[in-house]
Symmetry: D3
Subunit: 229 residues, 6 copies
């Protein structure tokens, strides 16, 4: 009783690529500190950075059949996002499937489960963010939903939402918000560039952000070590 949804909408790739440049930390702040996937998802090699349209996929524990189904739905610029229906760390994807995904334009994989063949995946520079690395493969007995909204590592991901992933983790941006988040994130980035120079020159954040007054209000006191005893 699983379904595959065809012809789902996607986000324009120039917006997607703009978000990739900015990275997860900046994008996460720019959309009001929302959309982060759980920190248990880690890149299998570093550095790695990618963004793409979410191609979503549910898999039963120990069964990767629907990933094969998902390949057929792929479009260039997608990132495959996979969530097991119950927690499972088996190796759902190896280098063969990665080869196939890449051929169909998929830029990387985000999975709240395990992967294997990570030496090959690293050699072929196919980026993966996973909850585990595990040599144990999977069967093909039960299909799961493809291109439906899913919850992956604690975040809601819908087909065509933008998935941004780098060494810091994975963030999802709603398709409807992608353009405005990109604009906000770019503004934030520029603002930080100026601050970086001042900090590198030795100015204190306390002074740049004029924090001393508010700290005093909140009750921060300075004491001397010698006076403390």
């Amino acid at each position: 009783m699983a379904i595959v949804v065809r012809n789902t909408p996607r986000t324009a790739l120039d917006v997607v690529d703009g978000l990739a440049e900015l990275g997860t930390a900046t994008v996460h702040e720019a959309q009001g500190r929302t959309g982060l996937l759980a920190a248990r998802l880690r890149p299998i090699y570093r550095p790695a950075r990618v963004a793409g349209n979410a191609l979503t996929c549910e898999v039963p524990p120990g069964d990767n059949w629907s990933i094969h189904v998902a390949v057929e739905q792929a479009r260039p610029g997608d990132v495959l996002v996979v969530t097991p229906t119950s927690p499972c760390e088996d190796g759902y994807l190896g280098d063969l499937l990665a080869e196939s995904l890449r051929t169909h334009g998929v830029r990387g994989l985000v999975i709240d489960g395990g992967v294997r063949d990570v030496a090959s995946l690293t050699a072929m520079a196919f980026p993966v963010w996973s909850a585990a690395i595990c040599a144990q493969g999977t069967v093909k007995e039960t299909p799961g939903n493809v291109q439906t909204p899913i919850v992956c590592a604690g975040a809601l991901v819908r087909p065509g939402d933008v998935v941004v992933a780098d060494d810091d983790g994975v963030v999802v941006v709603r398709r409807e918000d992608a353009e405005s988040v990109l604009a906000t994130a770019r503004a934030r980035e520029e603002n930080e560039a100026g601050k970086r120079q001042r900090l590198a020159a030795g100015e204190l954040g306390l002074d740049i952000y004029a924090m001393h007054g508010r700290l005093a209000e909140k009750g921060l006191r300075y004491v001397d070590f010698a006076d403390q005893r």
Copy 2:
């Protein structure tokens, strides 16, 4: 009341080396998806790949005395496999012991505990799969069994069984099965090579494996996004 078993049988090194070439994922499949050690065992550096005859060793929590005892039992081509008698993440092995193991022909270490001096171990290219990295060393108060059957990270390992380890994890192959598993694994590898080419050329797994009919039987339906609302 611990024992050291001498003159345990070993697997021929050409079989061992054949299994190393194939890697854990292929070997694990080839023996019917059995023999995997728990995924908490991770290599201290990557890439790393090794196979060897299991030289087994039990250690009390926080006590590495029997590793010293094990060195004397080592033969060229062995991999040391260590399991604590209760969970302990102390650093059971450092670079001195690794030096000694290497001198006696041991190819690497698999331990469901911790190791230390990992910068040196990496520099000297002594591969280790461990459950932890920890600067805390161990004492030498209580000897444990050496070269007896042990359970390491959830798998039964007997002296002379083949231990295969790479970036995906660690698999044990029973001594009696090693030759036949090697043959099966090689056949599987060749079969995969053909598929890789077809997948890289853009063919779908769905077509190569003729999955559409069975997916329909299992109830998979395709719907259009526009029709869904």
Copy 3:
């Protein structure tokens, strides 16, 4: 009601630098196997090695305000040590704050929480030992204590204690003990150098340390595999 303690004592930098050379495993042994921080603190890149005077800082969950306050108290040769008042894996520090810390002479960060911008931190070679990597940033609502004694990852750390960190983990040495620990650790190191040569030449630890008698006393027996059945 937080405080900042000024003019705390520090350990002389030649002692600090001597401890850095020896590394955590040796230092930990030299001070009687004490002072280790929990193994959940891992370097964000490897190899990495640093020692410094602890510049201590408490932070509420999800709030990094007091790190900004700590920058002002930094002296060249410090290592910032941060502990959340309740467990939190948010990314408390990114590359901007690292830039600022470095400009004020801070050599690295030890934090029982998360960091972000790890690709940049790696590129700028600012070493960090953290419990997590997480794109989620923090707010600036509540200041915490700076330069007071703290418990970080299970160890007591006081301002000016020496923090030694490398690929094996993090160790703290009490300011009062730093000189004597350095002497003991150096002696230990020299002793090991001799043993390394003998082990590399094939001598057994069992012989070097004359362990056979004590092993027999503890009940270790040797049996032959063939006799066992």
Copy 4:
């Protein structure tokens, strides 16, 4: 920049109460094995069973201000569902807040964080499913969203969806599906009652479900222990 959504729709209480009677395992099956919250949520006392309309609430780490805001939105028959914006195990709710929630008709709490005063909560029979028990309380510095869709312990929960919780865990049923899920679940329950009698009388599931043929197809073989050697 948080919001409170007023006058959200709710599910009729007779449907809610029907689902409570059936329990999480049956309801989960009846809706196609979806909607389960992560198993880390456990009841603070057992047995406990409740269902209610989700009253949703986001909280920053270590900050329970928006729970106070949520009380005002409560209607009789609600269950409060709370998710921290980053993982935090502080005690977000104690007996005072529980008293207040109960007075406004709230039947229980589901929280992917911690609670405290569990002895009192148990004594007053206010059921709580939480990820932790922790004496550490929270501050009131930053409000979070109330009555917006949230992801709690890996499941999407919208205001007015039905939350069913018992000793086995917590399941969410979409408001639109609640009636049909109730019907399906009741049918399933009746079907099971008949099977229970047959099983208690000693019939084998293998016979009741006529599994022998399909097992043989899947390759199951019977061997005798004596023939195995």
Copy 5:
């Protein structure tokens, strides 16, 4: 390609029952501190205590078909021991299956996975030691081995070995050793009864075991608090 082994040997029930009386801690000591299953297995209610002949069973992740197969192999006095072939916390057993197991003489369940219907299981006093409690059920797609040797929670368990379980955990005793372990354990128990009286009368363990000399040898020193400063 799974097998069911019929007519496996069992341990005499008077030996089994004798071990149940003594409990896991005593039995574990009596057999040289071996045979303990990992501490993640916990009873679903307390107090609970049982011993039985291991009826072993492997299950794929999320698939409990072979438990149905195992019921047919049950004999009065068995305890069902289940291990998933990869880690999975789904609810493999509910009250229907428990009813069936009990009818065929099975005394309880030990499973390195999850169970559900725990309120019913508690009410019917069917003891279970599991790694998780989870409302998510399982499918019946792939049979696993029944009555073969398995590794469960890190320990080797063979059909007919004795499984002893109580509030402290689960211990397995090899069939061949069961009688001698029972004798040793009983002797140990009697010895402890005498010591309990002396300790309850206020004698110190230090005196009963004459430890002062050996403590001094190991370097224990007594100092006075007042002299320490």
Copy 6:
């Protein structure tokens, strides 16, 4: 090289008992939200509540010798606080040692490790807060420090500090602060009693604490569900 410190100071038992009455949550708040031990320490039965003078003890992994040493230092009203020198979940204490501790006036045990015989400990109402329950016992090979300052589950505990433990966890109060913390906690308790009545009568926390203005300042907005679409 371990030491036992004799004649350490203790806190007056009327202060200790006053703190027990108030419980951990109140005491933790009253001393500025400090002193909490990690939430992994849980009572072996509930409800349980105790306070006492800390009798501190360090143990090597898998070795409980120094607990025997500690018994001799016990005074009526003490609570034994034990920390392993590296993480270890073995069962450090069983019912014999508990019997001995009780006879010497010790009120309970707090241990960042494991205990066993929990069914007996529960029956004899000897309260224990532990990180694990485990049938595996320990050896007596290496003594550890007794009555020195230790870090237990992330908190600094000195001999004679007050340890308060209940169903919510464990808090330590510095000996010097015990009286003033008791006074503050009592005041806090009285204040809460008044609020409880008002909340039970249906008043909102938002009104009692006059939160609406500050919430608006922080940007909280109210919207209607119907207007949102």
